[in-house]
């Protein structure tokens, strides 16, 4: 009897140890193993740094030197400038004051015109450095202030102080556009210019609807290379450009133009309404084949109007004739079109030949390109004189301005991209974050911080390059093809696949836990199940 009891006890202990081992393997080893193996590889990301972007300063420090004939004028002007710019959170002026030497003063007063005065200033001071500007007093001025393409603003005397401040605020530094580069919603300037990038393609398409009746003598490639090439060479610090040209023959567009009699050499002109013009862009896009390029493309098109429909004049929305030497229009973020009409003399021959006025047409294209690339033309300020542009080269301070705008735009865009990426990766917990993405994000964060420091220091070109690398790294990280939630096993399905496997196994194991506990505590078990 005792032997049977002992045998029963050993059998029972065997059974209990077997049950315990089931529990051990499944719950203690199996569960954590399953959890570990379905873990997703995620590189750790600097979430704290990303959320601290809002506190980073976004102001660009720029140097401004005020040179006056005497101390009082200089102090007054500097006071007004500081007052005007003290609230700005996008630009910080580092103003330095100095008195013009007697020699330079007399030279400035005796030179014939302002252009020579600029040269004289350029001898003493370095006008080629980016992110610097000089406000210099010069007595014999017709207007309050005078501004041309170099980084020099001449003013007459202390009474011109307010004009100086206005010019600096709205023309030279264009604080409104700078604010717009940072804002959530796009302002007009941001809606017009192309989004930031490392490079662009510029394609000139010469549209020739009627090759058998009209000859267009134009070397498109050379014109593009010379005019637009010289223009974009000046902007090489910002982007790199590829220039292309092509001819689109037999592309006929129905302008629905109405004939209007007038007193020109033709005796008539054809009016085309502004509402009709955007359909021309659609027709151009069909054949311009810009989707083959990898970078965004600025389209420039020259439409050679046929003799029977020449000259073509655009009528604006108020039904008034657009009086301009060239009939042209542009579309934001797309490009520009020039409607070129041959003259009556050209069309009089049996075989009409039109030699377009390349200088005028290219001048129009350059003015359109300026807006598309971000150079905003400032409005006129009373008392301030702005020398009109006479060549394709943009003004030096316009390039500086463009650098500032693009730096701010790229920086804020990179920050927003990283913030939304961090939010996305935090929300969807089963996306694998591999090393490439982690590296891109880390490099973007570092670049943003470096760029902010450089902006504070005033090193504009370096800040631009750093902000561009931040922007590109953030875009690469966000657009990474592996960040597709679809590719990875979703969390809820983790349970849906494993529960049917584990539940039938866990059920008896968990139930036997109760018996196990009782046995370990030493209480006898008598659980019977009859059959």
């Amino acid at each position: 009897m005792a032997k049977q009891e002992r045998k029963g006890e050993t059998e029972e202990s065997n059974r209990m140890w077997a049950s315990a081992s089931f529990v051990g393997v499944l719950i203690i080893i199996g569960l954590p193993l399953w959890w570990k193996t379905t873990e997703v590889y995620r590189v750790s990301l600097p979430f704290d740094k990303i959320s601290s972007f809002d506190t980073l300063p976004h102001a660009i420090t720029t140097e401004l030197s005020v040179l006056a004939n005497d101390d009082a004028t200089a102090t007054e002007i500097i006071g007004l400038i500081e007052h005007a710019f003290k609230d700005s959170d996008v630009i910080k002026l580092k103003i330095s004051k100095s008195i013009i030497s007697k020699q330079l003063q007399s030279t400035l007063e005796f030179v014939a015109d302002e252009a020579e005065a600029v040269e004289e200033v350029g001898v003493t001071f370095d006008l080629t450095q980016h992110n610097s500007f000089y406000v210099v007093q010069r007595k014999p001025l017709f207007q309050d202030t005078w501004l041309a393409g170099d980084r020099v603003l001449f003013f007459r005397d202390a009474k011109a102080a307010t004009t100086v401040v206005e010019t600096l605020k709205r023309v030279v530094y264009q604080t409104a556009v700078l604010e717009g580069a940072k804002s959530e919603t796009a302002d007009v300037a941001r809606q017009t210019r192309f989004p930031p990038g490392a490079g662009y393609h510029i394609v000139l398409s010469v549209v020739h609807p009627n090759p058998e009746a009209l000859d267009v003598e134009l070397d498109a490639g050379e014109a593009v290379e010379d005019y637009i090439g010289s223009f974009v060479d000046e902007l090489s610090v910002l982007h790199n450009f590829t220039l292309k040209s092509q001819w689109l023959h037999l592309l006929d567009f129905d302008f629905q133009a109405k004939e209007v009699k007038d007193t020109s050499e033709w005796g008539r002109h054809f009016s085309v309404r502004t509402e009709r013009l955007h359909l021309l862009l659609t027709r151009l896009e069909e054949r311009a084949a810009t989707h083959v390029s990898e970078l965004p493309t600025l389209n420039l098109a020259l439409y050679a109007v046929r003799c029977q429909a020449a000259p073509l004049i655009i009528y604006d929305l108020n039904d008034k004739k657009v009086s301009s030497p060239v009939q042209a229009f542009m579309s934001p973020k797309w490009g520009g079109v020039v409607l070129g009409s041959p003259s009556a003399g050209d069309c009089r021959h049996e075989r009409a030949i039109w030699r377009p006025n390349v200088r005028l047409i290219m001048g129009t294209f350059i003015s359109q390109l300026r807006k598309l690339l971000g150079i905003t033309d400032a409005e006129h300020i009373t008392g301030a004189h702005l020398e009109p542009l006479r060549s394709v080269t943009p003004r030096q301070w316009e390039i500086d301005n463009l650098l500032r705008i693009r730096t701010l735009e790229q920086l804020t865009s990179a920050e927003r991209t990283l913030q939304s990426l961090a939010q996305l990766l935090g929300e969807i917990s089963n996306i694998v974050i591999n090393d490439d993405v982690g590296a891109s994000i880390n490099s973007a964060v570092d670049s943003i911080q470096r760029a902010s420091e450089l902006m504070q220091k005033g090193d504009l070109v370096e800040a631009y390059k750093m902000s561009q690398s931040a922007f590109l790294a953030a875009e690469t990280a966000f657009m990474e093809p592996s960040l597709l939630a679809l590719l990875y096993f979703p969390d809820d399905q983790k349970y849906a696949i494993y529960i049917p496997l584990f539940l039938p196994i866990m059920f008896p194991v968990v139930l036997s836990l109760k018996n196990l506990l009782l046995w370990f505590r030493g209480k006898p078990i008598h659980k019977e199940k009859t059959d």
């Binding site: 919603t185 796009a186 007009v188 809606q191 017009t192 989004p195 290379e225 010379d226 005019y227 090439g229 010289s230 060479d233 502004t274 013009l277 955007h278 359909l279 862009l281 659609t282 896009e285 069909e286 810009t290 989707h291 083959v292 390029s293 604006d316 657009v322 301009s324 060239v326 042209a328 229009f329 542009m330 579309s331 934001p332 973020k333 520009g336 200088r359 290219m362 001048g363 129009t364 003015s367 359109q368 033309d377 409005e379 009109p388 542009l389 006479r390 060549s391 394709v392 927003r416 991209t417 939304s420 996305l424 969807i428 966000f478 657009m479 093809p481 960040l483 597709l484 939630a485 679809l486």
Partner: protein
């Protein structure tokens, strides 16, 4: 007192004129709705010949959208199977919306971006979120920005909460909602108009949670969308009811139309469609009554007239990059088109 009035009115006049001149740059369209370009993503998800009607559906919308001005470069057309040049099509290279061959919706000028096996759930989600493989050409990418209004049209076989792709996989409504949210995060759209023509279609837009989306579906949950009629020459259903009436409506819309979106949303009453058209407008800020139909179906391209060309005095000449002048003329030759040298080798060897 009188002087004060005069001064204040004069000041007001100056202020308004000043604001008008400073606003001279902004075209009118910007003020009404703040989108600057239009895109369309049109997807047909069904394979096999008996799903001819789905291809006719998506091509009807393609045709209308193109006619109203959206260029091919801003339309992404995804068609899962080829019906036009299918050997079973008795009229090759045509797809009609009507048994009486009224409109050839395939046309002569069609560009399909994703076709055949390329139309998959993964490619669709990649297209929407922008996470396409690096070699993808620009015509296959959705290059929208913060000012783009996008028209998304899906058709095929669907069910409660999913849409079937090519009879082998599905996209769930949650995945679609997540994809649209990622688009919003990256500011890839201004407003979206979402149309879906499948069975139980409204379940696909129930889960949306991103702002500025107006959605409509051809049937509610629990209802089936029905086809319109059979073409006995082809032997299959040729178009679905909802899209048939949509096409009829859009054929009467021209690029300068003043019709509103609410007219579009009411295009197919229950008597015609036999299923109830569902609309979701809580995520859409504007009132569809006041939104012109061309905001989504037409194409806005703001046009700014240039009046200030630059007066260039001297013609510039670009400095040419120095090429090495010593270009040895390399000798080229035509190679024989058949490897006779191998024949001769074996003959001698």
């Amino acid at each position: 007192m009188y002087l004060n009035n005069v001064i204040s009115s004069v000041l007001l006049l100056i202020a308004t004129s000043f604001s008008i001149t400073s606003c001279a740059e902004i075209p009118e369209q910007f003020l009404k709705s703040n989108h600057s370009n239009n895109w369309a993503v049109l997807v047909d998800t069904s394979r096999f010949w008996f799903n001819y009607r789905h291809v006719a559906n998506v091509l009807s919308i393609y045709r209308s959208v193109k006619r109203l001005g959206i260029p091919d470069s801003q339309i992404i057309l995804m068609i899962s199977d080829d019906m036009a040049c299918n050997p079973r099509n008795p009229r090759p290279a045509t797809i009609f919306n009507n048994a009486h061959e009224q409109i050839n919706v395939y046309g002569d000028d069609v560009e399909v971006d994703y076709r055949g096996y390329e139309v998959s759930v993964e490619n669709f989600v990649r297209l929407l979120t922008g996470r396409v493989p690096p070699d993808t050409p620009r015509s296959k990418r959705l290059l929208t920005d913060e000012g783009s209004n996008i028209l998304i049209y899906l058709t095929g076989h669907g069910g409660d909460g999913f849409l079937k792709f090519q009879d082998s996989e599905e996209i769930t409504s949650q995945e679609l909602a997540d994809a649209l949210e990622q688009m919003w995060q990256k500011r890839r759209y201004n407003e979206i108009f979402f149309i879906i023509d499948t069975c139980q279609a409204s379940s696909m837009y129930e889960k949306f949670y991103s702002p500025n989306i107006l959605a409509t579906a051809s049937s509610l949950v629990g209802e089936d969308s029905l086809s319109h009629h059979v073409d006995s020459a082809i032997g299959v259903y040729i178009i679905d009811r909802y899209t048939y009436y949509v096409l009829e409506f859009l054929e009467n819309v021209h690029p300068n139309s003043k019709r509103s979106m609410s007219e579009f949303l009411a295009v197919c009453p229950k008597s015609a469609c036999l299923s109830t058209v569902g609309v979701r407008r809580d995520l859409f800020k504007r009132n569809p009554d006041k939104v012109p139909i061309t905001d989504f179906f037409g194409s806005v391209r703001p046009v700014i007239i240039t009046t200030d060309p630059i007066n260039i005095l001297d013609a510039p000449k670009r400095k040419k990059k120095p090429e090495n002048k010593t270009k040895v003329p390399e000798k080229r030759e035509y190679l024989p088109q058949f490897p006779m040298h191998l024949v001769q080798n074996t003959r001698t060897g």
